[in-house]
Amino acid sequence: MTGLEDTQRQRLSPMLLVGGAIVGLIVLAAAVSFFWTPWSTIFTDVDHPAAGPGTAGHLLGTDSRGRDIASLLMAGAKTTLYVGILAVGIASVVGTPLGILAGMVRPGPAEFIMRITDLMLAFPALLLALAFATVWGSSLTTAMTAIGIATIPSFIRVVRAGTVVVMTTDYVLAARVAGRRRFGIALRHVLPNVIGLVIVQVSVSYAIAILAEAALSYLGLGAGPTTPSWGRMLYENSAALTYAPVILIWPGLAIALAVLGCNLLGDGFRDRLDPRLVQR
Amino acid sequence: MNQSARNLVTVEHLTISAGRTALVHDVSFVIERDERLGIIGASGSGKTLTSMAVAGLLPDGLEAAGSVRLEGVDIDLVSGSERRLARVRGLRIGTVFQEPMTALNPTMTIGRQVAEVMIRHHTRTRRGARATTLDLLAATGLADPGRMSKSYPHQLSGGQRQRVVLAIAIANRPDLLICDEPTTALDVTVQARVLELIAKQSQEVDAALLFVSHDLAVVASICDRVLVMFDGRVVEQGSVVDVLTHPRHPHTRQLLADSDLSGVGETG
């Protein structure tokens, strides 16, 4: 349609629907777990360790120590959400403005920002998490702050690349001719045009953060032993791979689903925010 | 002489559509050997799609009906398999498109890109291709072919790049050279030289020319015969002199009026 009729409301894309449903389910599970889980997450059913699904009132069975898997998954969803929001939140909120700044300032200062970024990129995230844990004690928050800080450079790089492209366009020149200052250009023209890149980076980083949480918890640098998390479930039951592999499937499935859900949601939002793709 | 033996390209009832919208509608024409045929029309008239169909380069996702036959090739350029088409393109058909930067691979030297088209079609040995490359670069008016062949596309100006694209197009002495707006992205003085070169080189290798442009003056300066396309249809065809001096279709008249910028009054 190339006529001049008004733009119509667009139906939700399947990507957005499916992604939204998956992420919605995780949020719901996390919310309910504050008040209720089928079993207590610290109760160990000593009579039925590593039980199959449906045994003795355990919907998805129990893990190698006899804890209820369904309950752990629900409570673990809280950790997953917290981890993602904290780590990716830090990275995007700090990285996006810095990336825009690096893309808009003169070549000298831009070079300076980018070299600092490279230095940070070269510093291993795990080492940063270790250092943080030594100073502030090991907790989920310190671990995820470290992961968040370590993820900032990737946001800076992606956003800067997008900003440089936007800054060469004639519409930015037109805005300058209109008298818009740098800050206004960053807010009105650059940010809306790089937001799609930010969203994709968010969904990628979220997936990495979930996996990093799992690894750090295993090393004792993340969630304490009483805080259920999907990553921790994987590592604690890794020995069960030989005799009851089904235990590992549930947290693995949950992680895969969460990653898929936020990627779909990210892509869906990116497309929805792009007027070229929404209104046809 | 037998008329059909002179026909190099025969396009019959070519229809190209995307979904239910026809972009090119029932187009038929022939290109004779050694002929220079121009297609003129506004953007969206279907002129580029028509030339792509003749090159066997229709983009995926478009449906095409009708036939495009090249003399001496036993497949239809519209329905032939990609493998068979690839053997025709670059060997019997050379192409020059508007944007000379994207037509060249930025990571390969000029020399390798020109030589590759000959090696791929087995018209030259590796060594022979290297020697011929230098001749081709010289023939397209590029100074210092030796140094040029070692350069990368970004080191060249727009006009130089378009000369390289032309060298690739004529490397295998094709029967047909297709040029789609080859000079639109170039400066006027460069445009004049590149046009002259296209005319000269197509003659040199005995190639027929299919020249697509929205610029009537350019088409007039290079072509013998012209098709006027409008809204996916051929609305008029004939010799350049006839069509442009005695246009019959109102759209051709409109194009002529819009092209002529000198005769319009003060405030238009």
Binding site: V177, G179, R276 | T189, S221
Partner: protein, 275 residues
Amino acid sequence: MAVRLAGVSRQYRQRRRSPFGQPLIVDALSGVTLDIPRGARFGIVGESGSGKTTLMRLVAGLDQPTTGTVTVSGTELTGLREGGLAFLRRSLQIVFQDPMGSLDPRMRVRDIIAEPLQVQGIGGIDAAVATALDQVGLPAGAGRRYPHQFSGGQRQRISIARAIAPAPDILLADEAVSALDVTVRSQILALLESIAVQRGLTLIFVSHDLAVVRRVCDHVAVLSGGRLVESGPTERVYSAPEQDYTRELLAAVPTLAKGLAAASTRQAARSSRLR
């Protein structure tokens, strides 16, 4: 004078190839002196690398000359910072070449046209946008849509609407019709011309296309390699060029008359050969 350039040069420092090499200095513009009278339709013609884009940027206050002075509407731009250029932002607007690239794809047409008004704190935005849309021949409903929903010619009309909305004195057209078809081109040229006449604007028309400049402009300046080759009334420059470069440029322009002459010669040669 609307615009006055006095001995204007602009040098660019090219990126060094190695940390130890000398930076290469490129003269984009050297020693250009030029007066553009108020109310003129002034063409600036040149090929790529001629310095016409640099000149445009200097006049628009988007760049500063290395030496020389640029004066717009009696105020010297040299050394002015963005704050001091506020008068220029009100009095000078640009229509760009690429009708897609000059419109922010994420903004609605209304917001695009309103941007200069909004930034400069000019009131009555809705009325001004409606007037501008009407003057460029777009329906009022166009304001609610996004740039990609329009054809190339319509987008160029949006670009013109944005430029004339703040009622500037000077309109700079940078290759404004180079990306358009002949038919759309002649419509946009007619539109620019009628707006310039109606509003008594000074139109500075930067282009590589000599035919287009001849059609629109009463004065023309020819640039080559950063230098001013010649300037004068359009008809004089086109009918009696003083410089070799101008002659070469004019000879290279393909015209229908020249093309047809060549075509008939070829046709004659062909038929005699067949006979």
